[in-house]
Symmetry: C2
Subunit: 337 residues, 2 copies
DNA sequence: CGACGGAGTCGAAGCGCTTCGACAACCTAT
DNA sequence: ATAGGTTGTCGAAGCGCTTCGACTCCGTCG
């Protein structure tokens, strides 16, 4: 293993000079710099991460806590994780992958040991038990998701309230008056993951303003659950012509069942989904949808974190504006122009 | 920040004693041990990761390289990553998430800097450019996936050859003679990711042995591509009654299109999938499938790695035996008993 | 022309931990 | 009783790096 000292010797300078060449924290003459850089190349030198962390009190590692459960939005999580990792690298950071398994203890462990300089938390619950710990430490952190109380925290998320409103507006504009919302699995609501409730709030308040009738039904993924839910919906509101689906794994079942019942999309009923673009374009009907900007969330989170680590950066909540893309699953309400 | 020295002082022992209590590398009297442990508790001590890494030359970190592209099997990758992370924790390791973006450089960087003690590589290509580096270092590594030449390497993977054979056997047993294979997207074959080819080999050789006619067609995910592929298949082999699907995102399109054409599953045609159980059970027809044992692969990889790190453990290739679960998508070939 | 300040370099002091050798105390077998 | 082992503890020497203060040159300003 090549050390700083060996590079220094090879280049005929002192160790500290090599260090300053590497960090750029003091000015170095062009000649010296080049000599040192050549030595680094020739010897194939890589700074030792542990020694660096010890001396500088910085590990250049960002911890990313992903949820342990894989019951929802897995591709979104993965996309976020990858976006976080690649963005972090462009800023010179590596990413440590923590699962939710350890819960708050992981936060303590990482903070206490100096393993990471900062954390990103995903799948934040409204009243997350990790939050007090984050508030009580001076280690920077960013949440992906929105807890109930955001004071003293930095958060990034899609504006799910606006997302709900946008879906309703789109359907209203097309003349739909009776709208059904296929929600997330009941477990998601029980867990108080904020996004589901915020979407619902947006849907409800905007429908009220626009004078629409809105029916919300939570629903597990899969065909069987969807069949039951759908039957109940048409039972209760036979005039339903608009659907909003949030649960990714309910999308295809819904489309399949509607087809089976002889209800054409978009001629008889319209469907708006909240899902990644990939799902929207690969479904059996190309779906009008509000995209979940996974990459953007990951990238934003890292950039906010890096800003904090560099001394700037304040606590703030970044809500990404939703964008609705019209595809083939929505059209005018039947009986309207 | 609490240090070892402070704990030592608080407990009235020397720093080295505290260190030995922590590592268990020398015997410590019961009394001393308890005193030290109490001090650790009271002061809330966490060993500094950097200092530890520097002194012991061990970071207790395993690097996990995931593919950058998210065009396939994303949920499987995520499940593997999570299994790796949780298993690693039970052995006292943390996981560093690397994306394929940096390519071989990432291997050099991590090996050179002592950031990680070992690596796990996913999405290994048949002739992967990272392999020479792994062979040339004494840092332990495990591949998830199988390259062309496994000499000097440790690998974990599903036995895709046996998987292909198993699918064919199942269909043959039910009396199907003409079988079509809906393969991965052409890009996957071009990239020479081994698993697709190994599956195909298994399918082919076993069909030959059993005297079946096998037609293989690569296929992108999505409805449009599937429609074209399916039309061609029935055009070329009108008597096709058995399907094997490997591409997760082709499953639902295939089922939808068959339904649309009035071909009932499993009465008219049978479908076997190679996919995670979750996909198989959530599809519109509960699919007979060979599961992709993501968790098992992740767990195995970590355990092989830990064995190597602990001094034992040799290079070996672990092929996980495939298991076929019969569900509602396969039945006797029409016209047979 | 002497004082001053910036540029460029070096030496040394740690950062918090592990680990080696030493040693005292005690126990056992001769 | 003495040599030889064990057991439990300590002190000190690093691990490879960053960073602070100090020093030497120069060029510049009053």
């Amino acid at each position: 293993m090549v050390t700083l000292a060996e590079v220094a010797q090879h280049a005929g300078v002192s160790a500290s000079t090599v260090s300053y060449v590497l960090s750029g924290k003091r000015s170095i003459s062009v000649g010296t710099r080049q000599r040192v850089e050549r030595s680094i190349q020739e010897l194939g030198y890589h700074p030792n991460a542990g020694a660096r962390a010890l001396a500088s009190n910085r590990s250049n590692i960002i911890a990313l806590m992903v949820p342990l459960r894989t019951d929802m939005y897995v591709p979104v999580m993965m996309e976020i994780a990858i976006a976080v990792a690649t963005t972090a690298r462009t800023h010179g950071y590596d990413v440590l992958l923590l699962t939710g398994e350890e819960g708050p203890d992981a936060v303590r462990r990482v903070t206490g040991s100096g393993l990471a300089d900062a954390m990103i938390l995903m799948d934040v619950e409204l009243d997350d038990e990790r939050l007090p710990l984050l508030r009580g430490t001076d280690q920077p952190s960013v949440l992906i998701g929105l807890p109930a109380d955001t004071s003293g925290l930095t958060c990034v998320d899609l504006d799910f309230g606006a997302t709900g409103a946008l879906c309703v507006e789109h359907l209203a504009m097309l003349g739909h008056r009776d709208i059904a919302v296929i929600g997330e699995a009941p477990a998601v609501y029980e867990r108080h993951t904020g996004f589901a409730e915020r979407t619902l709030d947006g849907l409800r308040s905007r429908s009220r303003e626009l004078g629409l009738r809105l029916l919300h039904r939570p629903c597990e993924g899969g065909y069987d659950a969807m069949a039951v839910t759908l039957a109940r919906i048409f039972d209760e509101r036979p005039d339903t012509t608009g659907f909003v689906v949030q649960n990714e794994s309910a999308v295809e079942p819904l489309l399949g069942l509607l087809r089976q019942q002889g209800r054409a999309v978009p001629e008889d009923v319209s469907v708006v989904a909240v899902c990644p673009d990939q799902v929207a374009t690969q479904a059996s009907v190309r779906l009008t949808s509000v995209a979940i900007p996974a990459q953007e969330m990951g990238r934003n989170a890292v950039e906010l974190l890096v800003a904090k680590l560099d001394g700037g950066g304040t606590d703030e909540v970044v809500l990404i504006a939703p964008e609705l893309t019209t595809r083939a699953s929505t059209g005018p309400a039947p009986g309207k122009s």
